[in-house]
C-alpha cells in the first residue's frame, strides 16, 4: 500500500536511516603513517618516512659495506634483531620522544666513520648495530600502544631495517673502483653534515 504521493509508508524511516548512515563520522585517521593496510605496513611506512631512523641505518650499512662481506653479514642480522628486541621491550614503556641531540650524534658518528673510511674492527661495527637497534627500537616501540598491533608494526620495521641494510651494504661490498668507494664516502660526509646542522637546530630550538 502506498501513501498520497505514491511513496511507501516506510520512506521517512528509510531517509532517516540513510541520513544517519551518511552523517555518521568516519574513522579519524590521525596519523599519516596509517596505511590502511594494517600494522605491518604501518611499520614499514613509519621507517621509510622517518629520516632519524633511516639515515643511521643507511650509514651503518655503508660502513659495514666498506669494511667487507663479513661485517656486512653480521650487521645484516644483528641490527634487525636488536631493533625488534628493543621495540618489544619498549612496548612496556610509556611513549618516549627521541632527542634530536641523540639523532645528530648518530649522524655525526656513522657519517664521519663512513667519510673517513675508518677501519673499525668487526666488534665495534657489531656493537654499534646492537646499540643503534636497541635504542631506536625502544623509541619506536614505546609509542605504539597495544601489544599485538605493536608486534605487527615492529615486524614491518624490522623487515625494513633488514632490507635497507641489505640494499645499502651489498653493493658497497662489491665496489672495486676507487672513485665508487669515494662516492660512498661523500655520501657519508653528507650524513655527517646533516648531523651537524641538526645539532645546531636542536640547540637553537631547545
Amino acid at each position: 500500500m502506498t501513501g498520497r504521493c505514491g511513496r511507501s509508508p516506510a520512506f521517512p524511516g528509510l531517509v532517516a536511516a540513510a541520513l544517519a548512515t551518511l552523517t555518521s563520522p568516519a574513522t579519524a585517521r590521525a596519523h599519516l603513517n596509517s596505511t590502511g593496510m594494517g600494522p605491518l605496513y604501518d611499520g614499514v611506512l613509519h621507517f621509510v618516512l622517518s629520516p632519524e631512523d633511516l639515515l643511521p641505518v643507511l650509514g651503518l650499512a655503508l660502513l659495514a659495506g666498506l669494511r667487507g662481506g663479513a661485517q656486512s653479514r653480521r650487521v645484516l642480522f644483528v641490527l634487525p634483531v636488536a631493533w625488534l628486541l628493543g621495540g618489544l621491550a619498549g612496548t612496556a614503556a610509556p611513549a618516549t620522544g627521541g632527542s634530536p641531540f641523540v639523532s645528530a650524534a648518530w649522524f655525526l658518528l656513522l657519517g664521519g666513520l663512513v667519510a673517513a673510511d675508518a677501519r673499525v674492527p668487526q666488534g665495534v661495527t657489531v656493537g654499534l648495530a646492537v646499540v643503534l637497534g636497541l635504542s631506536h627500537g625502544w623509541l619506536n616501540g614505546s609509542g605504539m600502544g597495544d601489544f599485538w598491533p605493536a608486534v605487527g608494526a615492529l615486524a614491518g620495521l624490522t623487515a625494513s631495517v633488514f632490507i635497507v641494510v641489505a640494499l645499502g651494504s651489498a653493493p658497497v661490498v662489491s665496489l672495486r673502483a676507487h672513485w665508487a668507494r669515494i662516492a660512498v664516502r661523500v655520501a657519508g660526509s653528507w650524513v655527517a653534515a646533516s648531523g651537524l646542522l641538526l645539532l645546531g637546530w636542536a640547540a637553537r630550538l631547545r
Binding site: A18, L19, L22, T23, S24, P25, A26, T27, A28, R29, A30, H31, L32, L49, P51, E52, L55, P100, S103, A115, H178, W179, I182, R185, V186, S189, W190, A192, A193, S194, G195, L196, L197, L198, L199, G200, W201, A202, A203, R204, L205
Partner: protein, 188 residues
C-alpha cells in the same frame, strides 16, 4: 540529496605533517636560488677536477662538513663578521685559482675551501622557514650543495678534451667575475 551530500563526513586526516616535505624541498632549492652560492660551489668542483686526485674527492668531502659546521655556528648564535663579503671573496679566489691553474699543496687547498665553507654555511644553513622540518631542510641543503659540486666536477672534466684546459680556465674567469660583482654589491 543536498543534505546527505553536505553532511557527508570525511575521514579526519588530522596530522599530515605538511611542513615535512616542504622542509626537504626548501632545503633542496635553497642553494640553487642564490647565484653567489652556486658560483662558489661549482668553482669547488671545477678546482677539484683541475687538481685531480686526491683533491677531486677531498674537497667535496671537506666542504659539506665544514659548511654544516658554519651553519651550526650560525644556529647557535655565534656572530661572524663580513658574511656576504666572505661569500663574494670565495667566488673571486676560487674562480681565480681555476683561472690561473693554481696548484697549492693539498692541505692548503682544503684549508682554503674549508675557510670559505664556513661563510656559506653560516649564511644559508640557517634560513629555515617557520613550521618546516629542520632535519629534512638540512638534508636537502647538503644534498643540493653536493650536487652542485658534482656539477662542477662534471664541467671540469672538459679538461680532458681538446682545448679543454682553456675552457676550464675561462670558466674560472667567469666565476671570478661573478664573485667580483657580488663583492661590489656587498660593499655598496
Amino acid at each position: 540529496m543536498l543534505g546527505p551530500a553536505v553532511l557527508w563526513a570525511y575521514p579526519a586526516l588530522a596530522h599530515v605533517q605538511q611542513g615535512e616535505a616542504a622542509g626537504f624541498v626548501t632545503g633542496l632549492l635553497h642553494p640553487v636560488s642564490g647565484l653567489d652560492h652556486v658560483l662558489a660551489m661549482v668553482a669547488v668542483g671545477l678546482w677539484g677536477a683541475q687538481l685531480g686526485s686526491p683533491a677531486i674527492w677531498l674537497l667535496p668531502v671537506c666542504f659539506p662538513i665544514v659548511m654544516a659546521f658554519g651553519g651550526m655556528l650560525g644556529l647557535m648564535g655565534v656572530h661572524l663578521p663580513g658574511i656576504e663579503i666572505g661569500i663574494a671573496a670565495s667566488g673571486i679566489l676560487l674562480g681565480a685559482a681555476v683561472m690561473v691553474e693554481f696548484r697549492p699543496p693539498l692541505a692548503v687547498a682544503a684549508a682554503l675551501v674549508a675557510f670559505f665553507a664556513i661563510f656559506h654555511g653560516h649564511a644559508h644553513g640557517t634560513e629555515l622557514p617557520p613550521g618546516q622540518s629542520a632535519l629534512l631542510y638540512s638534508m636537502g641543503f647538503v644534498l643540493a650543495t653536493g650536487c652542485l659540486h658534482a656539477a662542477g666536477i662534471g664541467i671540469g672534466e672538459v679538461r680532458r678534451g681538446p682545448g679543454g684546459r682553456s675552457l676550464l680556465r675561462a670558466a674560472g674567469a667567469v666565476v671570478a667575475v661573478g664573485g667580483t660583482i657580488f663583492l661590489w654589491r656587498a660593499l655598496s
